[in-house]
């Protein structure tokens, strides 16, 4: 095998060591620090971004819970308000009804009383007129000196006429 011929060993070893040393030096000096620092920087940046994202997420979650709680309480409050309003409306309605019923009752009572009064007054009027008529009849009878039968007849006629006019 040509690789085991030692003629070239010395030059290969020499140049290999030299070129490896040069490469090591160049990379050590000019390549690795830059690349490694970029990698570390990027790692840090990614880590920071992830941390920040996590932070934002938890913050958002917290806010969401807060809003949900607020929403819940608002809904409850609205429900309460609605119920109160309903109750109030019901109460007002009942009150109104009661008031109107009472009013109607009162008006009815007044009217009945008035009618009653009127009737009584009318009856009194009638009585008065009847008496007057009786007096008138009496006068006529006295002037013409009528018999007992005539008296009775006139009185009956007068009463009948009166009751007729009253019935009408």
């Amino acid at each position: 095998m040509p690789q085991f011929e030692s003629d070239f060993f010395s030059s290969l070893i020499f140049w290999e060591v030299l070129s490896f040393a040069i490469l090591l030096f160049v990379l050590y000096k000019y390549a690795f620090p830059g690349i490694l620092s970029v990698l570390e920087e990027r790692e840090k940046k990614i880590k920071d971004s992830l941390d920040q994202a996590e932070h934002h997420r938890s913050e958002a979650e917290r806010k969401l819970k807060e809003y949900e709680a607020k929403l819940n309480s608002a809904a409850k409050e609205a429900e309460g308000i609605l119920a109160a309003a309903k109750e109030r409306a019901q109460r007002l309605m009942e009150e109104n009804e009661q008031r109107l019923t009472a009013e109607a009752e009162r008006i009815k009572g007044d009217a009945t009383r008035e009618i009653d009064q009127e009737r009584r007054k009318a009856i009194q009027d009638i009585r008065a007129q009847t008496t007057e008529l009786a007096l008138m009849v009496g006068e006529k009878v006295v002037q013409r000196s009528l018999t007992e039968a005539d008296h009775r007849k006139f009185a009956d006629e007068a009463l009948e006429a009166l009751s007729k006019s009253y019935q009408r």
């Binding site: 095998m1 040509p2 690789q3 085991f4 070239f8 060993f9 010395s10 030059s11 290969l12 070893i13 020499f14 140049w15 290999e16 060591v17 070129s19 490896f20 040069i22 490469l23 090591l24 160049v26 990379l27 050590y28 000019y30 390549a31 690795f32 620090p33 830059g34 690349i35 490694l36 620092s37 970029v38 990698l39 920087e41 990027r42 940046k45």
Partner: protein, 249 residues
């Protein structure tokens, strides 16, 4: 009629240079080492200078590789291992670019030279020994006795672990070299058959050539990965010495 499938690994001296008696002549493999170094350096430096938060394609590619190696080190060695990042990353990139550039027809696969992979594996293993003795002193020899070994087994375990330790640099070097060599030999053989087979039958080995070429592409990545992760494991062993967890060998 066709050339040997091993011919592609042969080297010729292009420019003979001698440094105090040491032969450091330029040949094809050396030139491709330069190409590897040049391309890897340009890609990484250009991509690394972008430094945008939202990366472009090139920056993404470079960052992907860097991040890949970084997580590999973190997984095997922990945060302490990051001090070896430049070494391991450079090793990974050198091997990856060698493997990939070697797949371009007419180029040369630097990592198919056993001496090249041996130098890397000796570097890695030597470094692991240095770190081990540096951090733990003579107690580092305890790596030869796995934790929980009963006393009477110790005389048996020491030679076994010694062999396993010595096998590390050899297997590390041979694995990469053999994979690269075998892949290219296979491609050469299949393509030789394509040429030899002519139009009538040649399409069959050609289809295999294409398929194997695709496979080799994956192997280029996998071998670079294996070499770097084993580097992490060996260095991690030396670093932690029976540390938190046992690594699979």
């Amino acid at each position: 009629m066709e050339e040997s499938p091993l011919h592609q690994f042969e080297l010729q001296t292009w420019i003979p240079i001698s440094l105090g008696g040491l032969d450091i002549s330029i040949n094809k493999a050396v030139v491709f080492m330069w190409v590897v170094v040049f391309l890897a350096a340009v890609l990484m430096v250009v991509a690394g200078s972008a430094r945008k938060l939202i990366p472009g394609k090139l920056q993404s590619l470079a960052e992907m590789m860097v991040d890949f190696i970084r997580s590999m080190i973190m997984d095997t060695m922990g945060k302490d291992g990051m001090r070896f990042f430049p070494l391991i990353a450079t090793l990974f990139l050198f091997i990856l670019f060698s493997n990939l550039i070697g797949l371009i027809p007419g180029s040369y696969t630097v990592t198919s030279q056993v001496i090249v992979t041996a130098v890397f594996s000796c570097l890695v293993y030597g470094l692991s020994l240095v770190i081990g003795f540096w951090l733990h002193g003579i107690k580092f020899l305890g790596i030869l006795i796995p934790p929980g070994t009963p006393g009477w087994l110790v005389p048996l375990m020491i030679p076994i672990e010694l062999i396993s330790q010595l096998a590390r640099p050899i297997s590390l070097a041979v694995r990469l070299f053999a994979n690269m060599t075998a892949g290219h030999v296979m491609l050469a053989v299949l393509f030789g058959l394509t040429i030899g087979g002519g139009l009538l039958i040649g399409w069959l080995p050609f289809a295999f050539t294409v398929a194997i070429y695709g496979l080799e592409f994956g192997i280029a990545f996998i071998q670079a990965y294996i070499f770097s992760i084993l580097t992490c494991v060996y260095l991690g062993d030396a670093f932690h010495l029976h540390g938190h967890d046992e690594h699979a060998h």
